[in-house]
């Protein structure tokens, strides 16, 4: 069996989980295996949605003890499920929870782990993963020395493809409590926007923005085209009051949106490493020699303070980002 750890948010299957499930379905078909979706929490309401993405079996560890995320408790539930079902492949989306739980579960299973993969295949019945290393400056093909193989899938890379599965439900035992660590409180940002690592459209600013306050024009463009705002290390380190959670690059977030608009970003190696996985790249920069233009599908040599507001205006006029 191929098992996919899935996450729910407000009773809905999270998109990165749907992507991991779809990839799991593809691998299961390629290797003649069953696909299981695994949920853990106080309520598994909404887990039935996994059947839409090909789950043959939906396993639910539903318990008040799992209401808040706990690294050790979740890793235990997942590892027990892998053992109980004799699964050989465990997948999870490379989300905050997935990246925290999966390596711990892998160690518990004595299994190799490939994180944040962008490609998976079954070769002679064994999982093979392709994953970016050096923040995307290179790609490593990874094979596994262990019988159980664990990988997390990078959000926004694998398409979520609907394919009906039987979706038979089964409940799993949940540990009672007394966990080593547990999440006590979630401090959400006010914006409620998706995280950079999951965003489909990113508008990013660099040193050319000149000041943190000027990021307002990027926010306006992002709002008009349904995107979120990022920044280069130069901008984050400039003391403009930008949080480092906005930083895209090798020492920040590595992103893979459909569209990445780089405004006033020259294209230092460490920035490029974090965003070169974007499907389409637009560069707006005054300097026609800026290295970012070598990567850009579309380049605009010009003053971003003129171009960006024009883009916002034109996007609104065209009704872009309104679905």
């Amino acid at each position: 069996m191929i098992l996919v750890f899935c996450e729910l948010k407000d009773g809905q299957l999270r998109k990165p989980s749907a992507e991991a499930l779809s990839e799991g379905r593809r691998l299961a078909d390629a290797s003649g295996k069953k696909l299981g979706a695994l949920f853990a929490g106080a309520s598994c309401s909404g887990s039935a949605e996994a059947a839409k993405f090909g789950a043959d079996v939906i396993l639910c560890a539903e318990s008040a003890s799992l209401a808040s995320y706990s690294s050790d408790a979740f890793a235990q539930v997942v590892a027990d499920a892998v053992k109980g079902k004799g699964a050989t492949v465990l997948l999870a989306a490379a989300t905050a929870v997935g990246k925290d739980m999966a390596p711990r579960a892998a160690a518990r299973l004595g299994a190799g782990y490939a994180s944040d993969v962008t490609g998976l295949s079954m070769v002679d019945g064994k999982l093979q993963a392709v994953r970016p290393v050096y923040a995307g400056k290179a790609f490593a093909t990874t094979t596994f020395a262990s019988a159980v193989q664990v990988a997390t899938t990078r959000p926004n890379v694998f398409p979520a493809a609907e394919k009906a599965g039987a979706g038979a439900t089964e409940s799993l035992a949940a540990p009672a409590g007394d966990f080593k660590s547990v999440v006590k409180e979630i401090l959400a940002k006010a914006s409620g926007k998706v995280d950079l690592s999951e965003a489909n459209v990113i508008v990013s600013g660099g040193r050319g923005m000149k000041d943190g306050g000027n990021f307002k024009i990027l926010e306006e463009l992002a709002d008009a085209i349904g995107g979120v705002v990022g920044a280069s290390r130069a901008a984050v380190d400039a003391g403009w009051g930008l949080p480092h959670s906005m930083q895209v690059g090798q020492t920040g977030k590595v992103v893979s949106p459909t569209l990445y608009i780089a405004c006033g970003i020259s294209g230092a190696i460490q920035h490029i490493a974090g965003m070169s996985g974007s499907k389409f790249i637009v560069a707006i920069n005054k300097d026609p020699e800026a290295p970012i233009f070598k990567l850009a599908n579309y380049g605009i040599v010009g003053d971003l303070f003129e171009v960006v507001p024009e883009l916002t205006k034109a996007a609104k006029a065209l009704g872009i980002g309104k679905g």
């Binding site: 892998a106 782990y113 290179a138 090798q250 637009v282």
Partner: protein, 249 residues
């Protein structure tokens, strides 16, 4: 309190990656090696705890002779002891976690700190694996850490915000940018470090989990085009191209 800080030596972020002749590893020629930046936050946090409430800080790294640079730097910054586990520190996170667990067990560390990921390998796996192998609590991608009596409270970065994780010590805590601002080594620290020795041990035995069978550079991106005209014309042309050619919208 006893703190262990695990440090990894990695290629500098400005490194231009070249694949070695074996087709599966990094060509080490012209590579400048540094301490992984996330590990610097971990070390700084350990030193701040030492300065605040008192602690004995041991720095450990897995690698060859070259990795001693990372440990010398840790001593100069304020670590009390440094241990080199001679083995492959660039490989599989599961193997490295076993080596560090093998070294650390029974030594009574109250806190184990490391970066949330090693720059380059980008596995983000060694810390959680170490926590599991040692049966300890974990908190990953931490931007704020408070220690109580046998407990910790940590702020962890998640999608669109952060969350508070509480747990019991001993624990493995992995550091994220924002946890602190690492100091530079002082001349006094550098001189003092010269008098300290790095303990060298053979790395404990470990079994491999994942193996890199090939390393390749990403495919070249197709040549792009520049959009001409004044700002308004460029903006129009871009949106049309994104709509009609790229079909982004």
């Amino acid at each position: 309190m006893k703190i262990l800080v695990a440090l990894k030596q990695v290629p500098d972020t400005e490194t231009k990656i070249k694949v070695a002749a074996d087709g599966r590893s990094l060509d080490p020629a012209d590579v400048k090696w540094i301490t992984s930046p996330y590990d610097e936050y971990a070390l700084e946090e350990a030193i701040r705890i030492k300065e605040g409430k008192g602690a004995e800080v041991t720095a450990v790294s897995v690698g060859g002779d070259q990795a001693k640079d990372v440990l010398k730097n840790a001593l100069a910054l304020g670590a009390d002891n440094a241990v080199l586990l001679k083995g492959d520190g660039q490989g599989d996170a599961y193997a490295v976690a076993q080596m560090i667990a093998g070294y650390a067990k029974d030594k009574g560390y109250d806190l184990i700190l490391c970066g949330n990921k090693g720059l380059g390998g980008d596995n983000a796996a060694m810390g959680p694996m170490l926590a599991e192998l040692m049966g300890l609590a974990q908190a990953n991608v931490i931007v704020k850490l408070e220690l109580g009596e046998g407990t910790f409270k940590a702020e962890r970065e998640i999608e669109g915000g952060s969350e508070i994780v509480e747990g019991a010590l001993p624990a493995v805590i992995t550091a994220q940018k924002g946890l602190n601002e690492p100091r530079y080594a002082s001349l006094k620290g550098i001189m003092a470090a010269k008098k300290k020795t790095i303990e060298e041990l053979d790395a404990p035995a470990a079994t491999a989990g994942a193996v890199v069978s090939a390393l390749a550079l990403p495919p070249e991106r197709p040549a792009g085009r520049k959009l001409e005209g004044d700002a308004a014309a460029q903006a129009q042309a871009l949106l049309q191209a994104l709509k009609d050619e790229a079909k982004v919208f």
